[in-house]
């Protein structure tokens, strides 16, 4: 028999994308996690019982009943990475199933996808922790779970709300998706966005969500390569295309719309300016197309500030994402927010504030 005040104890929301504001929210002892942890456990149990991908999809009812678990964060002290890489063995599944092949501290496995996911996840954790003082995706030391070798001919990588999933590519166009470290940074940043601004995944907020992922994905890569803003290539997903495809990568933050031009794929459709904003119902309102505009604004700001892009421009964008942007924020809101954060951090009329302002003007978001 549960006490009548059980809803208060249990915490607020059934929605996986929302934070839970229960009695123990943010408690240092333990807290209620509205994550997919319960579902993960089910999935893993199912896979260890040999059910594999035959496990039925988690229905709405299942999500409502099975997701709520109490998390004791003693396993993940502040600043300590907790990476777990699972091999899906091309089984697919929603959510993915798999066997644990490399956990935190294990030596390299020899499987390129496993080791790239491990290293990329580590580099992303390090950028967020060392530079922005963030302890993992939820800032509470959440374990970083990745599935590699997902499904067959799967030419994608995604964040499913609680873990990263990577495909091996296909025979004709794409290489494996762990190959580019910024893809890992991109997917993990979807997790950070989910826990912070929770930008809606459509139209301008969706394109901003995508852009945040590209920005921090690129910063992960730049930091690993120790490149300043003018040394970096600002390409997202370099090396993901097979050599037969005419393209340097998936997107270019420095010159949106120029990453590829191939008879099989067409031309990179990204705009760099508001006047070329693409109105479409496809791809949730063109979230992977119009992200070119805020992407380019970030590049311009970082280039004008100079030095390592993650230090100042990255910090401005991170604080905007963490503290000020909301689920319905559009490009204009992102512009005014980053300008006021720059002022807060570096002073009114500072070089940094001017650089951010110039950048949003140059892409036509501000006039």
């Amino acid at each position: 028999m549960l006490p009548v005040y059980w809803p208060l104890l249990k915490g607020g929301s059934y929605d996986n994308n929302k934070k839970s504001y229960g009695l123990f929210y943010n408690s240092p002892l333990f807290y209620h996690s509205p994550s997919y942890a319960g579902r993960d456990r089910q999935a893993r149990q199912a896979s260890s019982e040999g059910l594999g991908s035959a496990q039925p999809r988690c229905s709405w009812v299942c999500e409502r009943t099975a997701l709520h678990t109490w998390v004791f964060p003693s396993a993940a002290p502040v600043g300590q990475k907790n990476r777990n890489i699972y091999d899906n063995k091309n089984q697919g599944g929603e959510p993915p199933t798999g066997t644990l092949v490399r956990k935190e501290g294990d030596p390299a496995s020899g499987d390129a996808a496993v080791d790239e996911a491990y290293d990329g996840t580590g580099a992303t954790y390090d950028l967020y922790f060392d530079i922005y003082k963030r302890n993992s995706i939820d800032d509470k030391g959440m374990p970083l779970i990745s599935y590699v070798h997902y499904d067959v001919n799967f030419d994608n990588a995604f964040w499913d709300g609680s873990e990263m999933v990577y495909g091996d590519g296909d025979p004709d166009i794409f290489e494996r998706f762990t190959k580019a470290i910024d893809v890992t940074g991109h997917e993990l940043t979807h997790g950070v966005t989910q826990y912070e601004a929770n930008l809606a995944y459509s139209n301008q907020p969706g394109a901003l969500n995508e852009s945040m992922s590209d920005v921090f994905g690129s910063l992960v890569k730049q930091r690993v390569l120790n490149q300043t803003a003018d040394q970096a290539d600002w390409i997202i997903g370099a090396g993901l295309f097979k050599p037969t495809i005419n393209g340097v990568g998936i997107r270019s933050m420095k010159a949106p719309g120029t990453a590829y031009d191939d008879p099989l794929l067409g031309k990179d459709p990204q705009p760099a300016h508001m006047k070329d904003y693409v109105k479409t119902s496809r791809d949730n309102g063109g979230v992977h197309i119009n992200s070119g505009i805020p992407n380019h604004a970030f590049y311009l700001a970082a280039a004008e500030i100079g030095g390592y892009a993650w230090e100042k421009a990255g910090n401005i964008w991170y604080i905007a994402l963490r503290d000020y942007l909301r689920s319905k924020s559009n490009f204009k809101k992102a512009a005014t927010t980053t300008i006021s954060v720059a002022k807060e951090l570096y002073g009114e009329g500072s070089k940094e504030q001017k650089a951010v302002q110039n950048a949003w003007k140059a892409v036509g978001v501000l006039s």
Binding site: D15, N17, P263, D283
Partner: protein
């Protein structure tokens, strides 16, 4: 004489015969076949589109079973049938959309009927998955097909 009540009363058995015939012709009409007995000879035209994903690159293809080798055409027809395509809802989406997932749009045209389904990858019905995989590998090989009208 023929119009007399006596005559009509004597014809009752004929009346039942007519009812009987109507009943049997109804039995031979297969209500649940939904025209399936004729599908073998019908051509399918399928328009397919995939958008979204990390790369956000759109792939499309248009398939006409009359242009396929007979065994491939038969395979495709079977996949459409097994997906119960014409009875799928027009929009199959997940309550919480996930970033970087694919969205698919399929339109199947058959003589006399057509149906369009938009489906998010994370909400894909397992019975529809083989058809989508087949179409995607065709789209990948053939590059950008005919655009949606």
């Amino acid at each position: 004489m023929r119009c007399s009540l006596f005559y009509l009363a004597s014809m009752w058995h004929r009346f039942y015969l007519v009812l009987f015939l109507a009943f049997f012709s109804y039995l031979s009409y297969c209500a649940y076949c939904n025209g399936a007995s004729a599908v073998e000879t019908k051509n399918l035209r399928i328009y397919f589109e995939r958008t979204g994903g990390f790369a956000g690159i759109r792939f499309t293809t248009t398939i006409d079973t009359s242009e396929l080798p007979p065994e491939e055409a038969e395979k495709l027809r079977k996949m459409v049938e097994e997906a119960d395509f014409f009875n799928l809802p027009a929009k199959i989406t997940s309550p919480s959309p996930q970033p970087d997932r694919f969205q698919y749009k399929l339109r199947v045209e058959e003589e006399g009927r057509q149906h369009t389904v938009t489906v998010s990858e994370e909400a894909m019905p397992p019975k529809l998955s083989p058809l989508v995989k087949w179409l995607m590998s065709a789209a990948r090989k053939g590059g950008k097909g005919a655009d949606s009208p």
